[in-house]
Amino acid sequence: MGLRDRLGLRHELPPRRRFVLLLLSFLLPLAAWSIVSYTPWIWHPLERVTDPGGVDYFLPGMDVDRAVFAKETAKAVQQGLKPPVGHPVNPKYLPPPHKVALAFFTAFATPPRLPSEPWLYQSFEQSISTIFWGFVISSILGVPLGILCGTYRVFARLGEPFIEFFRYLPAPAFGALCVAILGIDDAPKVAIIVIGTFFQQVLVIANTVRKVDPALIEAAETLGARGLRLLTKVVIPATIADVYLDMRILLGWAWTYLIVAEVFGTMSGITFFITLQGRYNQYDNVYAAIMMIGVIGLATDMTLAWLATILFPWKRRRPAGVRKPKAIAQAEVLEELAPSLNPFTEPAPAASEGLSGEGASPLQSEA
């Protein structure tokens, strides 16, 4: 298969290749990271001292700049002292992949250094609970308001100009206020997530709801639906799946507010854990914690995406190029054959043969 076929515009990929590409999308960055970590002559700007030799201020385990190390080695040799021994390393803030992988387990299993410090799982528990409540409170207010704004012009005109203005105010700017009003514990953090999510949510959902095909509403009206039932029986079911998709995207945004929010008042949750590990120079734990946020985010989103296929079965489309479901294909054939419904589908009378090709109905008669 040529390159042109592989890169064909909007070509469907065979499942096998889709899977390989999925793997590669993760393996390529990992490979780059591994090369930098495990190849001593790539980068490695520092030298880790294993034996200080005659250099008085070197200590075992110390990382020094390679230039400094070379200079001190030369100096020691010149003075007839034992030269220091070391090996090139990367800075502490770039631990090799295997250490980070290990930290995925050890970070959970290692008790905190001080009794007042949280275990990793406790940090995550706190963060997830913060984001959960922030998102739930925001949604309880934002989803109905968004649907109202998207459905009725009055609400849109009343609500949206102010919300449009307010969403430009960065949520973290309200940190000090939230702490003053809500104290230093979890409440101000939840509040910042609400502020960060709510205003976007109303606008995004209103926009989605506005995209409902007006013809569906007209059709419902000619079938006898009116008033509130147009909202509950047409607008909401017509948009619910798209609103759900919006919510999935908004949940991702909420995570970005989480890290900022946790700084206010007493630092808490995963931010506190990461800051603490940074202070202890345990960067493998820092990476592990950051990646775990990614894993949790991705896992949540995938779960929600899977849930969507159950909640909104009508959205399950077969991808382009895939065969029609068997039953439908069969029925279409049956239909062609069903004489009971089509008295006029017998072969057209000879008269209609040789008519111009654009015959639009069995009656097309211009010849």
Binding site: E221, T222, L223, A225, A238, I240, A331, F344
Partner: protein
């Protein structure tokens, strides 16, 4: 090229059977009465006439086709009858009662299917029944009957996006009929379908119309479709939109593909062509000849 001109009968000539049929139709009660209806659009540049004052009576079980060039206001007219748009003046009565706003007494089938994608085929048909307060089990039973009528029982649990265009439109027809409307309004319902499917759908519709005692107001721009389906054909003209003529279709029922050759059909279609496109012209004089491939001609 010379064409032998057929001696066509007058399109107003009706066989005794057809004349008797129209007599019977005229004796039936009027279902839809349009009185002095007119519609103007207000735009920045002032007022535009969608269509001038027109009146029309549609009798019970009559099949009316409205035909006309684009811009003649035929779609606006049917949307006003459906209650989806307001008229500028005039009155619409159903069974003698003036109506305003949409209602289940006037079922509508749109060109764009407008099935509810979140409802299965059966649930789509149940929609109007639910809106009219029928309980779920009754609605379910009735919906199945209507689906049986349009031959889609096998698909009652499918979602609309799994259906072909013709099937979707059959669901839309079943959905509108399930409400047992006084009149079924159809706004170019088969316009989006391919030629073969459209021909089939016309047959379906004729059968359904024969089985269900329903009055139909049908908009189309396809002359053949109008000739095949209608009892009376309402011809509208554009600039300004107006009613030009109401023609009683002289083609006897039941109709079949054979009518392609009938003199009634040809004379009727000839008259419609005349009304819509103006008197026949010789196109050759107008259209300049363009030679596209001189080189190719020489090679040949």
């Amino acid at each position: 090229m010379s064409v032998a001109t057929l001696q066509l009968p007058d399109y107003r000539e009706q066989s005794p059977a057809v004349a008797a049929r129209f007599q019977r139709i005229r004796e039936r009660p009027v279902v839809l009465s349009i009185r002095d209806l007119l519609k103007n659009f207000e735009t920045k540049d002032g007022s535009h006439v969608a269509f001038q004052k027109l009146s029309l009576d549609v009798h019970r079980r009559e099949f009316i086709c409205i035909i006309g060039p684009s811009g003649c206001g035929k779609s606006t007219l049917i949307r006003i009858v459906a209650g989806l748009e307001d008229s500028s003046a005039g009155e619409i009565r159903i069974d003698g009662h003036p109506v305003s706003g949409p209602g289940p007494d006037r079922g509508m089938v749109f060109q764009g299917y407008t099935l509810f994608p979140w409802r299965t085929v059966r649930e789509n048909v149940m929609f109007g029944l639910e809106m009219r307060g029928k309980d779920a089990s009754t609605a379910d039973v009735e919906a199945r009957q209507w689906l049986d009528m349009v031959g889609l029982t096998k698909f009652e649990s499918s979602y609309p996006h799994h259906l072909s265009g013709g099937m979707k439109q059959r669901v839309a027809i079943a959905r509108a009929l399930a409400n047992e409307p006084r009149i079924l309004l159809m706004d170019e319902p088969f316009g989006a379908l391919d030629a073969l499917t459209r021909a089939k759908m016309q047959n379906y519709l004729m059968q359904i119309w024969r089985k269900v005692e329903v009055t139909i107001l049908f908009i189309t721009h396809d002359l053949d479709e109008a000739c095949f389906l209608a009892d009376r054909i309402v011809v509208m003209g554009s600039n300004p939109g107006r009613l030009v003529e109401v023609i009683e279709n002289p083609i006897p029922r039941p109709r079949s593909t054979d009518l392609l050759l009938s003199p009634e059909f040809l004379s009727l279609k000839h008259r419609l062509e005349e009304l819509i496109h103006g008197p026949a012209e010789t196109d050759e004089e107008k259209v300049p000849m363009i030679k596209l491939t001189e080189a190719g001609d020489e090679v040949e």
